[in-house]
Symmetry: C2
Subunit: 396 residues, 2 copies
Amino acid sequence: MTPNQSPNLSFSTAEYEARIAKTRAAMQAKEIDVLIVTDPANMAWLTGYEGWSFYVHQAVILGPDGPPIWWGRAMDALGAKRTVFMGHDHIHGYDDSYVQNPEKHPMEDLSMLLAQHGWHSKNIGLELDNYYFTAAAYLSLVETLPLARVINANGLVNWQRSVKSETEITYLRRAAKIVEKMHKTIRERAEPGVRKNDLVADIYHAGITGADGHWGDYPSIVPLAPSGADATAPHLTWDDSPLEKGEATFFEIAGVHRRYHAPQSRTLFLGEPPAKYRKAENAVLEAVSAGMAQAKPGNFCEDIANAFNATLNRLGFEKDSRAGYSIGLSYPPDWGERTFSLRKGDRTVLEPGMVFHFMPALWLDDGGIEITEPVLITKTGAENLCNTPAELAVKL
Amino acid sequence: MTPNQSPNLSFSTAEYEARIAKTRAAMQAKEIDVLIVTDPANMAWLTGYEGWSFYVHQAVILGPDGPPIWWGRAMDALGAKRTVFMGHDHIHGYDDSYVQNPEKHPMEDLSMLLAQHGWHSKNIGLELDNYYFTAAAYLSLVETLPLARVINANGLVNWQRSVKSETEITYLRRAAKIVEKMHKTIRERAEPGVRKNDLVADIYHAGITGADGHWGDYPSIVPLAPSGADATAPHLTWDDSPLEKGEATFFEIAGVHRRYHAPQSRTLFLGEPPAKYRKAENAVLEAVSAGMAQAKPGNFCEDIANAFNATLNRLGFEKDSRAGYSIGLSYPPDWGERTFSLRKGDRTVLEPGMVFHFMPALWLDDGGIEITEPVLITKTGAENLCNTPAELAVKL
């Protein structure tokens, strides 16, 4: 705690310090002396740092002891002063001439900072497969830190985030209420002839105004809402095509509060759904309950996937891709935590406080069905954080 | 052109082929045989590929001849079939077990694909400092392509995009109309007591519904709208703090159509602005016109910045950061093209068809002033794509 600490913290200093202690234990287990954290969600989780600045190189440096150091573009150091729990003496901005300049790389400045702390010859952990930690950033560090030993620390901080604190669960519950409201808005506004972009505008408006007096933050993935044949592709974004009678549209969206995401998907059919959509709907719902029955402390992640897939196959459907993934705090381009997945072979043991997106999407040859839920592992089993009606939304 | 070509192209096949020819010439100049394009904007510009799938590894491969190859996650190959100009025989999806799996890396699959084409021992161009091309992706390629020679192709495709085609300029003009409408919405809705998130929800709604019958796409940067002391930091996002009388708020937003961005910023003051805000406003406006006078074919980018900064300094203000950058087609996290910058030392020659965000933001000790414009270089000079009133928006 310092006098010039930020006024805008989402968590207590004690919680940040507990996260740092947990992370340092994981560093020690991997013989990492100094951790360079470039994942924006990991940076925020460790320090509170907030801001849309991840399009330039930035990092949080966690040394062997003491508070972490925020490092980034000089103009964003001002944002760090407004958001991190550390004192201003732990905020370091680099000169703007480093920004998107092929002549020099910001990591040269980071190496100088590490040297100032006598860390240039230590075992340095890097998030090697993280968005925003580019090949050039790696090559610059390796060149300017010849005495350092690089250790792959990819996912190290992400894994510390798996089990959520009470406050984190509170934010996730608020996000869940927001996504419920967004789906309610879709059921109210979607009609044949409505332009897709107009419906998406209403979805954004519902999400960002928030719910139950809690404000909505921006989602790490924009609303995905493809119709008809476009819904055979999972990640297309919108245009101005009107909704049409006889078409299915799936809505993959998230409610967000203070960067915590509650993703939930539903499928809407305008007109009477063909029998095969009803068949797919029933298969998904039955497979989901089979999976949910396995969602409890002590079980493996794959237990949920295996129960889900066995039921789905018995009912005549196949799904090759994973059925879910860990969620929580996130920044674009992904609202997943990139740790455990609900798929065969993932032997991560479920614990109370883990939260995942149970994502049993089915893509049919002429469309898709998504009925997905944000799920919290409790002491005794699992809790669906939302109460949105599960079935296919049908408007005749 | 192929029978199974996508129905959703934003440009003619001829335009994609011209872009590819231009890019191949630049490859030849750098002795690159095979270019691996991982920047989502470069992927879209070369092939038409569209979709929110850049959170997994994907690329467009441009070999010595023939159409490019789209490579990505199997489920996104379906999106490629809906959006790229190439035939389906030039779309390659990798197995879902590669996704976010520490046991193996998707680039192993890409290397096999290159080998199948006999390209494993060629000179291979990589976008080394691009978001989404991670250190691990680089290390995996280097390990699995021992016979290849890696050449840094960072920015190679970006630079081909600098001069816009007629159709691109048409999309940018539509985006400019959209951002004008967004600023009009701000002037109408902003009042003391309005929660920031509610105002941002209205800004999103105005942007995505679009203008003049043209639909709005999502911006690559969310609306930035900090007030008061938070406005000393350029990249903070919103919460539910109410707008307050006596405070300045700047709105850094973009209108977007088919991924083409027209960013424009304005500053709003609730109540009578203090003299120093008026002084800063006048300085910025005078410095902007000095800069615009230098914005013409044949001049250097730095000519604009130098004229701008000289005027700003004469009027008693300083700006350390660059005064602008190239814009056009983009994906999160940045709406800049990451080629030329308006700053001292950038000797890029201005040409008709170049478009940039003239971004003369001033951050004062207790707030910020942003009055910025999307600008098109014409045959004879420069054109501001928007007609939004430039001055400080004041609501008493």
